[in-house]
Symmetry: C2
Subunit: 277 residues, 2 copies
Amino acid sequence: MAASPLLDTSRLCVHTITTQPWPVEEAIERYVQAGVAGMTVWRQALTGRDPARVGEQIRAAGLSIVSLCRGGFFPAPDPAGRQAAIADNRRAIEEAAALGAPLVVLVCGAVPGQPLEESRRQIKEGIMAVLPDAERYGVRLAVEPLHPMYADSRSAINTLAQANDICAELASPLVGVAVDVYHLWWDPHLEAEIRRCAQARRLFAFHVSDWKTPTEDLLNDRGLMGEGCIPIRQIRGWVEEAGFSGFNEVEIFSNKYWAMDQQEFLQAIKTAYLRHV
Amino acid sequence: MAASPLLDTSRLCVHTITTQPWPVEEAIERYVQAGVAGMTVWRQALTGRDPARVGEQIRAAGLSIVSLCRGGFFPAPDPAGRQAAIADNRRAIEEAAALGAPLVVLVCGAVPGQPLEESRRQIKEGIMAVLPDAERYGVRLAVEPLHPMYADSRSAINTLAQANDICAELASPLVGVAVDVYHLWWDPHLEAEIRRCAQARRLFAFHVSDWKTPTEDLLNDRGLMGEGCIPIRQIRGWVEEAGFSGFNEVEIFSNKYWAMDQQEFLQAIKTAYLRHV
């Protein structure tokens, strides 16, 4: 059953990367003016800034901090590379704690030519290595399964079933999943796996955008909601039936949208959110 | 277990689209000179020609005709569109029979925005509608699952499990699957599903190419075998352990390779085939 239309923007969160031409200070101001309620902060938005100070600015403006994007990229061909990845994920957790973000989203990683099974083993080891840090800071971690077109170099976790499996193996209340419609909409097991992760109380985040026909770039040609073929409202229905009541996060990578006036783009996001999410 | 290296080109088949700058007559001549043993003919290679005559030329040159590409694209928003698709698939079966191709490969189709379940239902209906033609001409049909990045507009069948399911429902000895490493390499259930389709004697075709990092175009940037991250030899091992002994078909869509000297490209295919398939 599809969800009812959203009547307001009280659960609308926007990722800083969606409007990346704006420095984070401008994004805060513009989001608040537009009635956006939450912000997910990408780490590059913090470059040259004190995360604790940025966190204060976001909260002072009245926005909720939904998550920090992103940790992950655990696999590497050599132990030194894997240790460096673990160290970087520890920094991400510290940054999230300083910022006041309750969640770090993990794009888990893959190494071209390395067997996917080996990458999955390294991902599990990497998450286990940083779990004590997550516990210490009280920061949760969300495994985000990525579309199979990113299995070469970005993530060896490509379905929600795989994300659920790794969470079940890790068996920590701090490790859950992020459901992104762009990555998962095609999967015939999506509804069942959403129920599975919700039953285990590990549905930590819900991301929306759309899949355009044609898609001209594998990475940076995502569509605004309603512009493509993803049954977003139906998937939101599944997520909410499973008990999720968190933010609907708009995460759009788009050379086309980054090139346009960001204020107009933000208004278009708001309109598309109310019409199509 | 990975397969042993191939020692000769006696099971090497090349798709006419792989060397599409060549008219089919030139492709026949060049393939034979290079020691290629089989040819899969794309329908556009037959434009303006009599399929029976082209079939005679291919056989007279000593090449095996492996399949005709492609039928499918059954889903449409309206009944007239679906009837037109069925009529076109009947023509494809007739062309295959005239050519002397024992198999038509089906790229099953999808309609942007139409629920994938509905497209799958229309695919099943479409195949059922043309089955009497397949029986009459003794031509087999191979459902080719396509990578999930084509779920918007090219195929609502995106895993080998789905292809096996639809074949099991149709329950005809004339309907099987084509396993293409480019579409399926990322799937954690691939080995098990290859066993399943082989046990049911429905593994009809095996296609190879490679997945490059980065991939710059969703459609026409496939790699030569060895150029990317797909464990081709391992997958060939699964296919052969399951009893497949047919051709290894090289199907590469690549703006880059189509722009180069096709004779040099064919030599590169042969070298890559012996080293990496």
